[in-house]
Symmetry: C2
Subunit: 203 residues, 2 copies
DNA sequence: CTCTGTGAACATTTTCACAGCT
DNA sequence: AGCTGTGAAAATGTTCACAGAG
């Protein structure tokens, strides 16, 4: 979040910023921002603030986005399509090296300049491109099998868009994005507003 | 999460479950699950567990997904496309009533059985369908303007996929989904593994 | 005099552990 | 006997408030 905020400031031509400004841009409290950044080291200047470019580089280095990470996407339905075309990945240091789908009728398609390949090619793609991050955009029923195969092929981080909890071995990282849960959270607050109008936060 | 886990159990024919089982399905600790559910009331039976259907209904009622929520999606690029077609919304009580895009060349298109309409129609659509939830899938630069217009039209909850922090009035709920941040978190853990192999969690 | 970096205070979340219901 | 519901404890996260650097 801070990295993105810094990139935004840099694009606006800002060279220096205070914790207050950066916190506002990122949408957090300035004390929290300073505490968070303090864990990385002392990259600010007292009485002045932070140098945007310098801090940006330090954060990028810390979180490991100074070099490209090759990524494979499995499941080229609507969501896989969108992910393959999502420019935010490329601009943030991720390079989609392959799109895989179990459905052979999709293997003709070219999406985002890559042709959709067979899921059978997973192992060779992973070893050839040294891939350690996989994205699952399949239906829920297929997700666990895809994850197992990814892990067997040597992938150690999985971003899961399927609405299912994945069981993976120790040492494999999984993050889940569930679009409908986000909407349900909004609906919950909507309902509360309707029932008891008054105190409500905007987070 | 618990609701989804319960739906999964119900589909498998399970009629009763313990906090241990449900927690495992949802991927959390059983004590946490019991504490969470206790805030809703005492819907379990000591010595037995929870009735799947009963608990499912109680949670659905609590979070407000017993009736349909009309939703509008603004920005029908790749992501908007995917969201419009995402079956998870419909099955979880959300009904996409309109797809809007500022680009007139897209107004011919029919996506997911709905035709893409002009962003100018926002106000009438919101009032005609009593919409209180809006989804922003536009580029970052357009997001704030779209949000402002949504709020003016009467929308009080926004799901934002654009990588920008939205400023909204008190009382308007915003949730943000940033796909590249999730990948960055995985990359961070990958880098840590490479540097200092050993203790690593699989969350 | 301004703004960072940080110990200490405060707040929230998670887990433990067990009383008590069925 | 088995499992929920829940106080109390532990862990974690956030904010305050100020010493001290520039």
């Amino acid at each position: 979040m801070y990295l993105r905020a810094l990139i935004g400031l840099a694009e606006d031509g800002t060279t220096t910023c205070s914790s207050e400004e950066l916190a506002a841009t990122a949408g957090v409290n300035s004390a929290k921002l300073r505490k968070d950044l303090s864990y990385l080291g002392s990259y600010g200047t007292r009485g002045v603030g932070y140098d945007v470019e310098y801090l940006r580089y330090q954060i990028a280095r810390e979180i490991g986005v100074t070099h490209d990470w090759p990524v494979v996407i499995v499941g080229i339905g609507n969501l896989g399509h969108a992910l393959a075309n999502y420019s935010g990945f490329r601009s943030r240091g991720f390079r989609v090296v392959a799109l895989l789908d179990a459905d052979p009728t999709r293997h003709d398609e070219v999406v985002a300049g890559l042709d959709v390949r067979s899921f059978e090619d997973l192992e060779s793609i992973v070893s050839d491109n040294d891939v350690s991050i996989g994205v699952i955009a399949t239906p829920a029923v297929a997700a666990q099998a895809v994850a197992d195969r990814m892990v067997a092929a040597g992938i150690t981080s999985i971003l899961n868009f399927a609405p299912s909890v994945l069981a993976v071995p120790e040492g494999v990282g999984v993050r889940k994005v569930d679009l409908s849960i986000e909407l349900q959270i909004l609906a919950y607050h909507e309902q509360r507003k309707a029932v008891a109008p008054g105190s409500e936060d905007a987070s």
